[in-house]
């Protein structure tokens, strides 16, 4: 047997241990990037081989928490890929405007930057008071950060540029207050978003959504898990509800592709058929 095959057994065994001990199932994560993240944790824990993680994770919950952070932390910023947000404002907001009340599910929100980006645009469109935004993630630490609505001011210039490209009508700074090196989003925005724990791998339907946004989460899943989650989204969306994935994510290779029509290929915006 070749060494890389033996390494695969190690990873399988590690994931099985995590699933049975902590009820987190990573077996259907895209394996190549999962391996890289596990290797990243090995370096931080000063270990050489994945099997050495097994006893540490089984007996020390803190090591597992670090594993979870290593796997769930995503690079996220405000108005990343602003053309997507512009598309949202121009094509989907007018449809949402026809509802007296509507629900948005932002799945895999990480530390919340995109949820606030969205809330700002809804507010400027006069839609925020009719919106109920649920933003979920499987990392409680990330959710705690998101609930605060406080972010480093370091990248604010970049965010402001993104905001304008995304169709922002005022000044981005109208929506937050500055405290030393940090910005804090207005309470009105914070109160419109419910941040909650939800694990796409094992948790159920999040019902009756007009719009589901899940960006740059699918890239970390294998095709089976993508199908599972797409099914979850299909069942959670209302008839003619919208689904938005990351710009390089697509439903084209999924067995559920016929459940949705494509509104924008380049921005990965779909609409449930019925």
């Amino acid at each position: 047997m070749e060494l890389t095959e033996i390494a695969d057994i190690e990873i399988d065994t590690l994931l099985d241990a995590i699933r049975r001990r902590y009820d987190y199932d990573f077996s259907n994560y895209a394996r190549s990037s999962l391996k890289r993240r596990i290797n990243g944790l090995l370096v931080k824990e000063k270990l050489d081989m994945p099997y050495q993680l097994i006893p540490r994770i089984l007996y020390d919950e803190e090591v597992f928490n670090r594993f979870l952070s290593e796997l769930s932390v995503t690079v996220t910023e405000m108005y990343r890929e602003p053309e997507f947000f512009l598309n949202l404002v121009e094509s989907i907001f007018p449809v949402l405007n026809t509802y007296q009340y509507f629900k948005i599910w932002h799945a895999g929100c990480a530390t919340g930057e995109e949820a606030y980006s969205l809330a700002v645009l809804l507010k400027e469109a006069g839609l925020l008071n009719r919106a109920k935004i649920y933003a979920t993630d499987y990392n409680n630490k990330s959710i705690d950060i998101a609930k605060q609505g406080i972010y480093s001011a370091e990248n604010i210039e970049q965010s402001s540029k993104g905001y304008l490209k995304a169709g922002g009508k005022q000044r981005f700074s109208d929506h937050y207050s500055v405290h030393y090196e940090a910005i804090q989003f207005d309470d009105e925005l914070k109160n419109a978003i419910t941040f909650a724990y939800h694990n796409l791998v094992k948790d159920g339907v999040f019902g009756e959504m007009n719009l589901i946004i899940c960006r740059n989460v699918f890239i970390y899943f294998d095709k089976d898990l993508q199908n599972h989650v797409l099914n979850l989204f299909n069942e959670s969306a209302i008839s003619k509800g919208f689904l938005c994935l990351g710009n390089k994510e697509t439903i084209r290779f999924s067995i559920l592709k016929d459940k949705f029509m494509t509104l924008s290929e380049s921005n990965s915006i779909y609409r449930k058929k019925q």
Binding site: A30, S32, Y220, K248, R252
Partner: protein, 195 residues
Amino acid sequence: MRNPAAEIHCIVIGVSAGGFEALNLLITQLPEKFNYPIAIVQHRSADNDGYLTQHLNINSQINVKDVVDKEPICPGIVYIAPADYHLLIERGAYFSLSRDDKVNYSRPSIDVLFESAADVYRQACLGIILTGKNADGAMGLAKVTATGGTAIVEDPETAKESAMPNAAINKVPSATVLELSDIGRYLMSLQQSEK
């Protein structure tokens, strides 16, 4: 160099500064029905609009495209890593993307592609490092040879930028060093020797 044409299932190419001209020379001469998939990491800025891909696709017989997540890997297509995403190869002949931290200050990173390609294709992997100003790809190329694959590096003497080829040769002294035009001839010879 072995002549493992029948054994090669995937070709991975890493290139940085000077890559536009190098890829232009290499890819535009490939036939439409090339027998192998080619995956390329060309370092580019995060807001790159994909001009390279469009340019190559228009000027080549072979189909050239930016990868989308979970895209199947098919022979006769040149796949380019999209700006600001790592490109990885998964078991079962498809790609995945990731937004993980930069590797060697790069996203996409050549090491990330090469290491995953070596892992999946092992001795059936051909890795090629072309012109560039940094050391990305050297570790990845070492992994390709460690798992039994084939390594080719553009001759630093004639490459537009020599740093990346030199770093790769230092890390993988057994790599075959060829001028760009000879790398092109080698790729064409793979096509012919398979029949």
